[in-house]
């Protein structure tokens, strides 16, 4: 009788796990090392020192940065959780008409790169934005300031609200509607019932969503760079960008120590988050009920609520994105010239005739599709090793796979930059698109790993054990029994990574090379150069491509993101 070669499975497990560990260590070890060196990592004769940290902590700019970042993250996360929770309640628990339409529009920002949203907000709500101009005409003043911490927090909140919405929705749907009914029976109106029963029951989920978006806000890049930097409000990411990329003589020691401090802070937040998560899970499972909850009737308020919802989505999502589209079709957007006199296709012609533009869009798409697929494949492999094997280093692997959560994109990019400098023989990967795929994979390892882990754990271990006893080794078992059953989860992970990779660009700032530019960076440069037309035209192309992919995946392939 012949059995499979017994050595194969350990080889796969060891190589998968080692690859993951090396990939995560590659950027982080040189980064940590650099933070203790008195000169750039590539220069010889360097000495170990704590001066970088001393310089950092005595740098008044960094003090401001810390204060700004926390203020911003606090505002952004509370606002996004508020929006997400309110939307989740109205969409899931009331008889609001057209709820699916509102839900879909509300979720749009999840699929749209932040940089595009920010463009839209500047065009609409900037000091001379279109809506700002109307405010000026009718009221003589503009009651908001986009280039401020609250302004940035608002943009960030609207962009982050979909995730809070998804998280709250699952709790809202699970919430026992009989509690609400009891409140109604006791004489409370529908709004009172929501306010005094539904909302308090959501509290643990809200808290968790808040911590989630808090860390998200600390890592944000587009908003601080486009809205904060021009008026001198620095945040962690823009501080590192300014010190590491824009300085005449970048102080890599300072950047590295700053990066380490951010990583430490975010790790702290994640520990808190994890504590909360275990509590939330307990909370949710106790009340887990599969019945569809009853919907609250809005009654006479219905038209008003519909009107408000429509107005809100119009002002916060549809109009800003519309402004991006409009800007892409005009040469100049000025209140002194009617825009229809300025209509042009030049911006789009610019994409076709300028190789950097179209190559960067192509690269972003290529990284999203091919890189997303490769990354999904790799993450499935390590999730199977970490979650579904007797591999001795499992615990370490699981820890490592989740670690990059604490590392904002720009820092991962900087770490890889340092890593490639330390190991020059890998330089040839760096200057290609494969280098970017590697960086993106490491950055988004936790997301993909988490997304695939839960479904893996849901499949009974008896499925693969049955293969093992029947004579297959570990690899045969996961291949024949686990992977086929994971198909929906695999597709959803792929789509998730595809969307994230399309949006990602701050991880590429430090390491892209001629030919491997990605759309986000090129758009950012165009915007800084004042070429808003080209930047918005590229945004529109990217929006259309993303929309096509998402619609195709969800309608034709029936894939669910966040399944």
């Amino acid at each position: 009788m012949q059995l499979s070669w017994p050595k194969r499975s350990p080889v796969i497990q060891w190589s998968g796990a080692l690859a993951a560990i090396l990939m995560v260590a590659f950027p982080l070890v040189p980064l940590a090392y650099q933070s203790f060196l008195d000169r750039p990592i590539y220069e010889s004769g360097s000495l170990l020192t704590l001066n970088n940290y001393l310089n950092l902590f005595t740098n008044p700019l960094f003090h401001q940065t810390v204060v700004n970042s926390f203020l911003f993250a606090l505002m952004a996360s509370s606002a996004s959780v508020f929006l997400g929770a309110v939307a989740a309640i109205f969409v899931n628990r009331t008889d609001l008409p057209f709820d699916r339409l509102w839900r879909n529009i509300f979720l749009w920002p999840f699929f749209v790169s932040t940089i595009i949203m920010v463009f839209g907000y500047i065009l609409m709500y900037g000091p001379k934005g279109m809506i700002s101009n109307y405010m000026m005409q009718f009221f003589g003043f503009i009651p908001w300031n986009l280039y401020s911490i609250p302004g940035m927090a608002m943009v960030s909140a609207i962009h982050g609200a979909p995730v809070a919405f998804i998280f709250c929705s699952s709790s809202v749907v699970l919430a026992d509607s009989s509690l609400e009914d009891a409140a109604r029976a006791a004489g409370a109106g529908p709004y009172r019932a929501i306010g005094s029963v539904t909302l308090p029951l959501l509290r643990p989920s809200l808290l968790f969503a808040a911590v989630l978006s808090f860390t998200g806000a600390l890592e944000a890049f587009s908003t601080p760079v486009l809205l904060g930097k021009p008026v001198g409000i620095l945040m962690f990411t823009s501080f590192l960008y300014e010190q590491g990329i824009q300085a005449v003589r970048p102080d890599y020691g300072l950047v590295a120590s700053g990066a380490m401090v951010v990583v430490a802070l975010v790790t702290g937040m994640i520990v808190v988050q994890e504590r909360l998560l275990t509590n939330v899970r307990r909370f949710v499972t106790i009340r887990g009920k599969a019945t569809a909850p009853r919907k609250i009737r809005l009654g006479v308020m219905k038209p008003m609520v519909v009107g408000l919802v429509f107005l809100w989505l119009m002002l916060t999502i549809i109009l800003p994105l519309g402004a991006v589209v409009l800007r892409s079709f005009v040469a100049v957007l000025s209140p002194y010239i009617p825009f229809w006199e300025m209509l042009t296709l030049d911006n789009y012609e610019n994409i076709i005739t300028n190789s950097t533009n179209y190559i960067s869009i192509w690269n972003a798409l290529y990284i999203a599709v091919i890189g997303g697929a490769l990354s999904t494949t790799f993450l499935i492999l390590i999730a199977l090793i970490g979650r579904r094997s007797k591999f001795p280093g499992k615990t370490i692997l699981n820890f490592v796979a989740f670690f990059p959560r604490a590392v904002p994109s720009i820092i991962i990019g900087f770490g890889f930059f340092m890593g490639f400098i330390m190991f020059p023989f890998l330089g040839s990967i760096r200057s290609t698109i494969w280098g970017l795929i590697l960086v993106y994979t490491v950055r988004h390892m936790p997301g993909g790993f988490g997304n695939i882990s839960a479904p893996i754990l849901r499949i009974s271990e008896e499925m693969d054990n049955a293969v093992r006893v029947s004579g297959g080794d570990w690899w045969t078992a996961v291949r024949l029994a686990v992977i086929p059953l994971l198909k929906p989860a695999i597709m959803s992970t792929f789509l998730l990574l595809l969307v994230i990779f399309t949006k990602e660009y701050s991880a590429a700032l430090f390491i892209m090379a001629p030919g491997s530019e990605v759309a986000g960076v090129v758009m950012l440069n165009h915007w800084f150069q004042g070429e808003a037309g080209t930047a918005t035209a590229m945004s529109v192309v990217q929006l259309v491509l993303t929309a096509l992919i998402v619609v195709f995946a969800s309608r034709v392939l029936r894939v669910k993101i966040y399944g």
Binding site: P40, Y42, E43, G126, P127, K128, K229, P230, I245, Q246, A247, V248, R249, P250, Y252, A331, V332, L333, S334, P335, Y336, I337, M342, T344, D346, N350, T353, N354, S355, T356, N357, F417, F420, I421, M422, P424, G427, S428, R430, S431, M512, A513, P514, G515, E517, V522, N525, H526, W527, F528, Q529, G530, E531, A532, G533
Partner: protein, 372 residues
């Protein structure tokens, strides 16, 4: 095999050989180039293309690279568009470790170039074009001037009245002092980072302490911007009325052209800074010969004309009458305000002095933001 077939085969081989040789023979370089210039051309054929890091966008490069590709079709040019201060540190970091890096650098950063020269990180190459260029076109036959962009005044004609347009900085300070509320928050300029800092350096060298007196008046009314394009957008939208430190190349952008009369501009009559953008071949260049060919083309008459088509302001005297846009050649400026009022911010070692520049930036911030 028949005689005829042999003959046709021979002809074929000859044609192939001829075809392969033709480009080498056909490259038409100016007649004053050295006899052995062909050696550089031949050597470039064995190279693997040309890597450029620059702060010049691909759009601006396009007309020049079209000419370059026509001359040397075998050289595959790869461009990386980076921020102005990003170009040189990136090359230094990469060259230090042997990772693949750029052959050719273009950026505005006087101290950066000074550092590269001092640390011997650039390839010395005496271009055959040097005799045809102004003295400030090169330093130590290593760093060359890519373009020379004037920092001009520009405004939104709908909101900035013609009678308020200043003649020069002295007049400007006087006008602002008379009507501060009219100007408050509606003026813009480059910030002190690179372009703005160097034009201020130029103003200061030209006017001396008077410049700081003026800036103490103008500065508080000003909201500096990061790029010319950004200033232009905001002038068009009416957020700003006028920029007193605006790179002329933006006037040739498609946005400015479409805006037509909405944007007015003039040179600063009592002294107009001209910012030299540097270029050089890296000492670690993997493709030095290709880089030399590009450098020579950029300095040649043909190259300067092509570069101006990409909206860069060029300076080679004998190219002036071949360029229709007066703003895209320095001759326009000299004609308008005279050579004595042209402040070339270039290879004077003072500009490369980092400490001096930092002090100047601090003084600038003090004038504009009221704090260092």
């Amino acid at each position: 095999m028949s005689q005829q077939k042999k003959a046709s085969k021979l002809i074929f081989v000859l044609l192939v050989v001829a075809f392969l040789w033709t480009p080498a023979l056909a490259v038409a370089v100016p007649n004053y180039y050295p006899k052995d210039y062909d050696k550089i051309i031949d050597a470039s054929r064995a190279e693997k293309g040309l890597y450029i890091y620059s702060n010049v966008s691909t759009d601006n490069w396009k007309p020049l690279l079209a000419v370059f590709n026509k001359l040397y079709p075998w050289i595959n040019v790869k461009l990386l568009d980076l921020g102005g201060s990003e170009v040189l540190p990136r090359y230094i970091a990469e060259s230090q470790t042997g990772t693949p890096t750029a052959d050719f650098l273009v950026t505005q950063s006087a101290p950066g170039w000074a550092r590269l020269l001092g640390e011997n990180r650039l390839l010395r190459y005496p271009s055959p074009e040097i005799p045809h260029l102004p003295v400030w076109a090169s330093r130590q036959e290593t760093v060359y001037s890519f373009s020379a962009d004037p920092a001009i005044m520009a405004w939104n004609t709908k909101i900035f009245p013609a009678d308020m347009v200043p003649k020069g900085m002295a007049d400007f300070a006087e006008k602002v002092q008379k009507k501060p509320d009219f100007f408050r928050g509606r003026l813009t300029s480059y910030n002190e980072g690179a372009f703005g800092g160097y034009s201020a350096f130029g103003f200061y060298k030209h006017h001396g302490e008077k410049f700081w007196n003026w800036l103490d008046i103008i500065g508080p009314m000003t909201r500096p911007g990061s790029s010319g394009g950004d200033q232009l957008e905001k002038m068009l939208s009416g957020e700003y009325m006028m920029s007193w430190n605006f790179s002329a190349i933006n006037l040739a952008s498609s946005t400015a052209k479409r805006a037509g009369n909405l944007i007015g501009w003039k040179y600063t009559e009592d002294g107009n800074p001209v910012l030299v953008r540097g270029m050089g071949i890296t000492i670690k260049a993997a493709n030095p010969n290709s880089a030399k060919l590009l450098l020579d083309l950029l300095l040649s008459q043909e190259g300067q004309v092509a570069l101006s088509k990409g909206n860069m302001t060029v300076y080679r005297p004998d190219a002036a009458d071949k360029i229709p846009e007066p703003t895209l050649h320095l001759a326009g400026l000299i004609k308008a305000i005279g050579e004595k009022n042209m402040i070339v911010v270039g290879w004077d070692p003072e500009y490369g002095d980092e400490a001096k520049f930092k002090a100047l930036q601090a003084r600038w911030r003090q004038a504009v933001f009221g704090k260092k």
